[in-house]
Symmetry: C2
Subunit: 547 residues, 2 copies
Amino acid sequence: MSPDPVAVEEVVAEQVADLCVAAPAEGEKPKKEKKPKPQKEKKEKPAQGGGKELKKETQLGLSTKKADDFSKWYSELVVASELISYYDVSGCYILRPWAFSMWEVVQRWFDDNIKKLGVQNAYFPMFITEDVLNTEKDHVEGFAPEVAWVTRAGNSEMDKPIAIRPTSETVMYPYYAQWIRSHRDLPLRLNQWTNVVRWEFKYPTPFIRSREFLWQEGHTAFATQAEADTEVRQILDFYAGVYQELLAVPVTQGQKSDKEKFAGALYTTTVEAFIPDNGRGVQGATSHCLGQNFSKMFGIEFETEDHGKSHAWQNSWGLTTRSLGVMIMTHGDDKGLVLPPRVAPKQVVIIPIPKSSSAPEQVAAMFEQVKAFKASLESSSVRVETDYRTNYTPGWKYNHWELRGVPIRMELGPKDMDNKTVVLARRDTGAKEFVPWDQVATRVPELLEQIQADMLAKAKARYDACVETVTTWDAFMAALNNKHMALAPWADEEEVEEDVKKRSATADAMGAKTLCIPFEQPPLPEGAVCFASGKPAKNWALWGRSY
Amino acid sequence: MSPDPVAVEEVVAEQVADLCVAAPAEGEKPKKEKKPKPQKEKKEKPAQGGGKELKKETQLGLSTKKADDFSKWYSELVVASELISYYDVSGCYILRPWAFSMWEVVQRWFDDNIKKLGVQNAYFPMFITEDVLNTEKDHVEGFAPEVAWVTRAGNSEMDKPIAIRPTSETVMYPYYAQWIRSHRDLPLRLNQWTNVVRWEFKYPTPFIRSREFLWQEGHTAFATQAEADTEVRQILDFYAGVYQELLAVPVTQGQKSDKEKFAGALYTTTVEAFIPDNGRGVQGATSHCLGQNFSKMFGIEFETEDHGKSHAWQNSWGLTTRSLGVMIMTHGDDKGLVLPPRVAPKQVVIIPIPKSSSAPEQVAAMFEQVKAFKASLESSSVRVETDYRTNYTPGWKYNHWELRGVPIRMELGPKDMDNKTVVLARRDTGAKEFVPWDQVATRVPELLEQIQADMLAKAKARYDACVETVTTWDAFMAALNNKHMALAPWADEEEVEEDVKKRSATADAMGAKTLCIPFEQPPLPEGAVCFASGKPAKNWALWGRSY
C-alpha cells in the first residue's frame, strides 16, 4: 500500500533533513505554536467601530519564501494557514477543519467512484495478533520495524502483544478465505477508510510522512487475472483523477520497477507527482495486483464454474492524506496556500469594505448585499465565506484569506455599491475584474472552473519542464542536479537500479531511483542501450530523487 | 461520552452473562464460523438449468427462537445475516458491508445535520501521552482500567508508554486552549468520526460492547452556558432522530441522575432505548454539558467582549455503532433481521421465478422486466437488489433475503408476466399484495414509507407497554420482575439510587438504576413521596435493569 514502506525505508535520514520539521519529543506538554499566525492577532483587543481605531496589526503571512527555504516555508505554511497543529506525540499531527474538509472532498469523490464499480465499504479491527501478522513473511518484513505494539490494558500485561495495523492485508485475508468458497462469491471488493500506524523513526513531515495517518485501503478478489488487471488500472485512473481533477496536481501513471514494487505484489502501479522546488518525486498513490501470492498464503480458494479449484486473484490499493501535502507544496506561494476550487473548503470570501465615514444605513445596505450574494452563490453550491469583522483592516483580511488559499476574493466597497459592481480577485494569479451584480451568479462559478483549469495547466507546464529525456549517464546526472526528473532508456534490471542509486548519490543529495515506468512510452529507438549499464534497453523509465 | 464507562463498570459480570457471546481468546487463529449461514450452501455444486435439478438445500435461518434464548438468537443472527464476523482478537468484530452501509446512512444523516449547525469535522491523533491523559483525574479514573497502552515500536521499547484514546477530551482540550483566545474564536464546534478503544474485561457483545468501536465525538466550546445548553438539546434531538426516524427505535429523552452522569460533566442528557425481550434498558447516545470543569483544568480561557476573562462552556456528545445493535435487537425476528427501509442497504429485492418448463425467450423477457424495474426504482433512489441465481429455489431465496432483513420482496413469476403484475411481500408483516406494473414505481416508495412508520409504531407500542407507572416499592419490583421499566416518583438523591440498586438485585437479576429523568414529566401529585425512601419526591424517574 502507499506510501511504500520499502521505498520509504531507503530514504536516507540526512537526505530528507531539508524537509525536517522539528517536532516535540514524546511526553512533552503541548507547546504554544511559535509561528506567526492569525490567532496571535486575536489576542489584541478588538477595535470599536468601523476600522478607524484599529490597533497596529501584527505581521501576517509567512516569514520564509518558498524559493529560499522550501522546507521551512512548508512547515510554517501548514501551521499558519490552520491546516495542522503540531501534537505532543512526535510524528502525529492534528488535521484541523481547513485540512479535514479537503480530505472529505477527496473521500466523497473517490468513494462515489469506487461504489459505482461495485466496491463496498466495511470495517476491520485495527488490532492484529502477532501470529496473523507473521503469516506472510516477505510482506511483514517491510513493516516489522515500524509496527506499534499494545502490551498492556489498564494495569494488566497482555499474554501476547497485539499489533496496530500498518496496513490490513493480514487483517482481512483470513476472513476472505472464509467468505470465498465459490466463483459465485467473486468478485469480493471491499474498502475501508481508516487510520493506520507506521512508527517511523525518520523525520516526520505533516501530511507527507506521519506515524498515524488516514487513508483508504481497497482489498479485492477476483476469479481471473484479467479482471484483477482491469481493476488495478480503473483504480489508478481514479487516483489520477484525485490528483489532476481535484487537486490540480499533474501525475505520471506507470508501473513500479521490480525493486520498487510493493512487497508481495505481482506488480505495482503508481501515480507519481513531483515537487519542482526541491526536485523530489513523490509517490502519490499505488494500486497493486497481488496476483495469487496472498491467496495461496491465506488459503483463499474457490470452486470454479467447472468444479475445479483455483486461488483468487487479488488487488490492494491505497490513497492517503499525503495527497493534500503534495497539493499544498505544488500550489502554495509566498503569501500562503493556493487552493484548487474543487477542494477549497471555501471557494469565495466576500469582504464588505465600508468607509469609516459611511452612514449606518449605508453599511447595513452593503451587508445586506453581501448576504444576498452569499445566498445566491450557495444556491449554486458555491462554498462562500463572508468576513464582516470590524476589528481588522481590509488589507489584513486580504492577507488572511490569501494565507488560507481561498480561490476568489469578492470585494464590495462604497463605489461598488454605487456602480452595482463587485471586484473579483483571483488567488492564483492576483488578477482582478469588475463584475456587474447581475452577472455575479454566473461569473463566479465560471471563474472557479477557470481557476481550476489554469492551476492544473500551470502545474503541468512546470512538471513537464522538469522531465528531461536523457540517454547518457552525464545527461542523467545533469538532470538530477538541475532538480529535474530524467526519462531514460534502461535495462529494467534490479541490479542496474541498485547501481544507479549508489552512483547518483552525491555529498548533499540522495541517490535516484525509478519513479515508474510510464504507461505512455516514447518509441524506443532500435538498438537503444541503457543509459547506466550499456545493456540493451527494454523501456523508458522515469527517474528522480524522491521522498 | 457514550457508552458511559462508569455505568458499564457497575454491571455485574454474571448478570450480563445472558448476553454473553463466546469469543475466541487472543492469539487464536480465526476459526471458521459455526452458525448455519448462506456461505455453507455455497459449497454445494451449483445446479444446472432452471432449478429442477437442485440439490437438497441446507437448512437456512436461525436455530434459536428470539423468545427462547434471546442472547443465543442475537449472536446467531448477527453472523448468519452477514453483519458481523468474529475476529481473532477477543472483543473485536468485523463490520461487514451489510452492517457498515447502515452505519454510513447514520453517518451521512447525522453529519449533514451537525454541519447545518456549524459543526466542522477534524481529526485528532489517537495516541495520548500519559501526562496529558492524567490531566483531569476524575475523568481519567473512569477510563484508566480499560486503556490500551502502546509500549513498543518495532523492536524498541518506548521511553514512555502511549495510550490509545478511549475518548478524546484530553486529546483535544490542550489545543482548544491554544486556539481560543477571544470571544471571537467562539463557538468552536468540532466533531470527528473515529475508532476508540476501551479494553473491557467483561463479556463482549457485537455492536453493544466491544473493545474497539466506531463513533462520532463532538467537542464544542461556547462563551455562555445558554448557548451550550441549547446545543446539548439540539444534538440530543438528532440522536433521537437517528433512533426514531432512521432506526425506527423508540427512545425516551431525559437527563441522567447525578450518579449516572458522565464523569466530569455538569449534566448528561441521554436517549434511552429498551429491549423488551430481556427487559434491559440501553443507553442510546449521550450529550453532555461539561460546564467549565474541563476549561478550567485545561486553561481554555478567552477575552470577553468587555475585555474581561472567562472560561469557555463546553459540551461533548457521542453516538456509536451500538445504535445498530439496538435496532437489530428491537426488530429482528425468528426469520432474521427486519431492517427499517431508511437504513436498509437494499430496500427491495426482486426475484424472478421462471418455471423450469419456461422457454428461454420467456425467461429472457422476465429478466428484462426485472432489469426495467430495477432501473426505474433506482432512478427514484430506491436501493434495489436482484437475485437471478438459478442454483437456488425461490423458497431458499425468500429465506435468504428474509434473514438479511430486506424490507420488500418483489416476486415476478410466469403468471405475473401474463397479468402484468408483481407481488410485493413485506418483511415486517409478511403481508403480500399484487401491484400492476405501471404502479410499481409509485407503490414501492410509498410502501417503504409505510413500513418505516409501521415499524416505529409497533416498536413504540411495545416500548410503551413496558413502562409501568408505580408509586410503591412492591409495584416497582413487580414491574422489574415483569421485565418492564418503572416510572416512579423519587427523591433524586444519589444514596437513594444506591440503595435501590442494592435492594432490587435478586438471585438471578441485576439491580435497577435510573435510566433517566424524562424531560416529559407527568404532573407530580402534591405531597408525592419517593417510592423507595419515603422522602418527598422531586420528580419522576425512569428505572430499569440495563446494559
